[in-house]
Symmetry: C2
Subunit: 519 residues, 2 copies
């Protein structure tokens, strides 16, 4: 009973009958699997094709993103998909994917929390794809089950949790982790298995998050049946951190108006500016009102890897639940999200007994189950690539990469300050720099339009992929440009060149006959 | 501004200053990235290590799963993680993951909807990991954005939807797809952005699904704030299909009791037996009550690839939404779930405007956004591996694999019938065979205990990974064994050997001094 078709010990006397002739890798006509004893040999020539096509596509792209409008890439994709099936599809489509990517390994690709993954993490992840473990039952993932459990304990300790009392799971990212945190908050405060339509009238569940929190907080409230309007936006200070006095006032107002604060969401590293909300104050206020504290550290959690930056997250261990994303400051391929709770018992509302996955007698016999840890059922071990990365580089190796990106952001802020046409929005906190091109006629509408067009002009020419956002309450205009610096191999000179090109493009747009409607 | 540190056209005059010396792959001390022009060369030696370690681990395992108790694998994992960081971690941990896997490419690994992925799909997926596109904005995934859109149209047509009117997204699997279907049902029937705690009193939303439907329906109801008890279980017929008369009765009773039927969930291929609910009748009844029809075809959707089996799904195109999983009958590595809606406009409640991802002026300028298609934000293109697979093998190539697994299930059912100690539960519908070992003393409790122990004995000895479930309403006992046959390379003789070994193990357990408490 092994992968080989030769008669095994039990079946030695039984020649394989049946209609299908047997080859060393199964009957002809069925293409090879990636697993089994024959999988590695079948993979090697295909992987070589992939690597060649990746190199060819990157060379054809010749920069951070393909030049041209979106319709041009889409047309190439449609043509490629219209080709007849055949063995050249792999090389052809990989070359096209590589050509048509915004490659975060290019120093001029610096728009989003979109990291260039480490080669070692990508290589490790290939093993996961080939073996295809699924963590909804032990008998689909024996080693992966143990590995995720052990790695989560390590990550819990990194965040200051007691690893023996905490629990967690790998997720698809901060959005899923935030949903889980708010789901457990809802169950903890309103009762496990709550049907919201059956709540006593007058109980109005509310979530408090800063106005700079990620939009996934609203989205989670909507999914959870609370409605987006259940989220109350707490004002931020000048550095875009939640203002503790404003949080206290909003909590008091919520209760006064008949609302029930079920959760406070504090952000440790906002998407745009890396601002870290005051965690100890948020914890104290949440506790005072009987609310759950969820800390969204999807971005800022990477600071835990750095001795220099970890103090920014002081107080994080008071959170009832946490979001961490190792596909941001952690250099993993997407996804490598992590959700953690401080006290494992608060996870109980997600416990599930499925007779085909974790029957009680199997659990009594010592077979562990992670089914109740996730909102998913089928689930690949995304922990594996991170475990390999941490065991290859250590926390120190990753911490040096975090520090390098932080250094780069500070250097970029200096370069913005040195360029009169650019204006820094706030001091960098983690690894992002937010700024704008300052038009000669500095009216809000003109600034917003010009900055939006400027970004698209860089994108369309294939020169640079820079970010764009809007900041609350800072004038003139709201649109800001952004460099999210997640590539430790990028040099300050390369960043300075992007900024110089940005300023040049802004002048070019102003000098042409005024900004046109379309960027 | 390319990945290479050599001065580019814009920066030709600026030698890279800054504190860090430049090598061809960036400063020393930062390990190589998988992307960029240098990525493929950095990956090759690492991939070789992975393939060697995969082969070594599979050889050490020597069967479908490592022999021994779960604690033994966990101990090896703990030891491996305790080692000091260093460059040997990749090979060491991959070997351990391969050893400690339940490998679905082994013919004796046949418990779950856990397929042996195709080598070509795994190779394609490596490109995704290396390039790390993220589909929450076009400027993180130009080609991938176009490719997912085109592939979803193709899959919609396969299901009988009008591709120009439908919409969808790749998901982590049936559980997420079912959640999305029921979320859109809730919004469609109760109003977009509904806050359930604000519903007029007396509106009690209800979901109707058969008692054989997947547990993720209850889980979705809980997440959505409806509570698990919002799901009413509709009785099944002998073949474990939803009984249309019973559905009609349950809908009438729901309304009579003041409930509001928001959704009917029909299953096209139940997890255990592959039973397909009567889709045309479910559609007609859902429409009559103003309820949304969601069809969970996570398993049975694979039948769309086969001319022989596609007629089982007649009526599926009437569904308002659909779950399909290509990591089941589709031979993709996890995840390759798909969610589709018949009418794109029903997706509107998920639309999102995020100023840093899809600002209105970018969309007006022709930059498409998939942000509103998914419950996630960061999202890798899981469509790519399926696109490459379909373009390599065609629907016909995959259809032959589906037919081979269906043949195998029928052969397995014959083999069960031919073995007096085994008893078939139902005729195979798709690719699963459900049966039990019939003990000499055939009392319900004895049968249940013996079958549970028998499965664990096979597992613990490393001989075979077979499934176990419980069926509603069929005696004696409820525990059943299960082969889920998803490997077209497996021969009927290999399946017969697993069944013979199962019968032998049952006799062995009975002949030892009676079943002991622990399996």
């Amino acid at each position: 009973m092994t992968g080989a078709p030769e008669p095994g010990p039990e079946g030695g006397a039984t020649p394989p009958p049946g209609p299908r002739p047997q080859g060393p890798d199964g009957p002809p006509g069925y293409p090879p699997a990636a697993g089994g004893t024959a999988g590695p040999a079948a993979l090697l020539p295909l992987l070589r094709q992939v690597l060649e096509a990746l190199a060819a596509g990157a060379a054809r792209r010749g920069g951070p993103i393909p030049a041209g409008p979106p319709a041009a890439v889409a047309e190439q994709v449609r043509e490629a998909l219209a080709a007849a099936p055949g063995p050249d599809a792999l090389a052809r489509l990989v070359e096209l994917l590589a050509y048509g990517s915004a490659d975060p390994a290019d120093p001029a690709c610096a728009a989003h929390l979109h990291c260039p993954p480490l080669a070692v993490a990508v290589a490790a992840d290939l093993a996961v794809d080939a073996l295809n473990p699924s963590q909804d039952s032990w008998d689909q993932a024996p080693a992966a089950t143990a590995l995720e459990t052990a790695l989560l304990a390590e990550l819990a300790a990194l965040a200051g949790y007691d690893p023996a009392r905490s629990a967690g799971v790998f997720t698809s990212g901060g959005t899923e982790s935030n949903l889980m945190g708010l789901l457990l908050a809802r169950e903890a405060v309103l009762g496990a298995g709550v049907a919201l339509d059956g709540l006593p009238s007058g109980v109005r569940p509310r979530i408090l998050a800063s106005e700079a929190a990620h939009f996934s907080v609203q989205r989670a409230a909507a999914v959870l049946g609370l409605g987006e309007r259940a989220v109350r936006a707490v004002p931020v200070d000048r550095a875009l951190r939640m203002d503790p006095a404003a949080l206290a006032a909003e909590l008091a107002a919520t209760v006064r108006e008949g609302g029930r604060p079920i959760a406070v969401v504090a952000t440790a590293g906002t998407t745009d500016t890396g601002a870290v909300d005051p965690l100890p104050e948020a914890a104290e206020l949440a506790a005072r009102y009987g609310a759950w504290l969820h800390v969204d550290a999807a971005y800022g959690g990477g600071a835990l890897l750095s001795d220099r930056l970890a103090p920014l997250l002081t107080g994080i261990a008071a959170a009832d639940s946490l979001s961490l994303d190792w596909h941001k400051l952690g250099w993993q391929p997407v996804p490598a999200g992590v959700f953690l709770v401080r006290r494992a018992e608060t996870y109980a509302p997600l416990a599930r007994r499925a007779v085909y996955l974790n029957p009680a007698d199997d659990e009594e016999a010592g077979y562990p189950s992670l089914l109740g840890r996730s909102l998913r059922t089928t689930r690949r071990p995304d922990a594996f690539k991170l475990a390999v990365t941490l065991r290859t580089l250590g926390r120190e190796g990753l911490g040096r990469m975090v520090d390098a990106c932080h250094d780069l952001a500070r250097a970029a802020a200096e370069a913005v300050r040195a360029e009169p046409a650019l204006e820094l929005a706030t001091e960098p906190q983690l690894t992002t720099v937010v700024f704008r091109y300052r038009p000669r006629t500095d009216a809000p509408a003109a600034s917003d339009r010009l900055n939006g067009e400027l970004r698209r002009a860089l994108l369309r020419s294939g020169r640079a992929v820079i970010g764009r956002t809007e900041l609350p309450g800072t004038g003139p205009g709201r649109v800001r440009l952004k460099l999210t610096l997640l590539n430790p191999r990028t040099t300050p000179a390369q960043v300075a060149r992007i900024l110089a090109e940005t300023a040049r493009e802004g002048r070019r747009l102003e000098e042409s006959d005024g900004p046109s409607g379309r960027g």
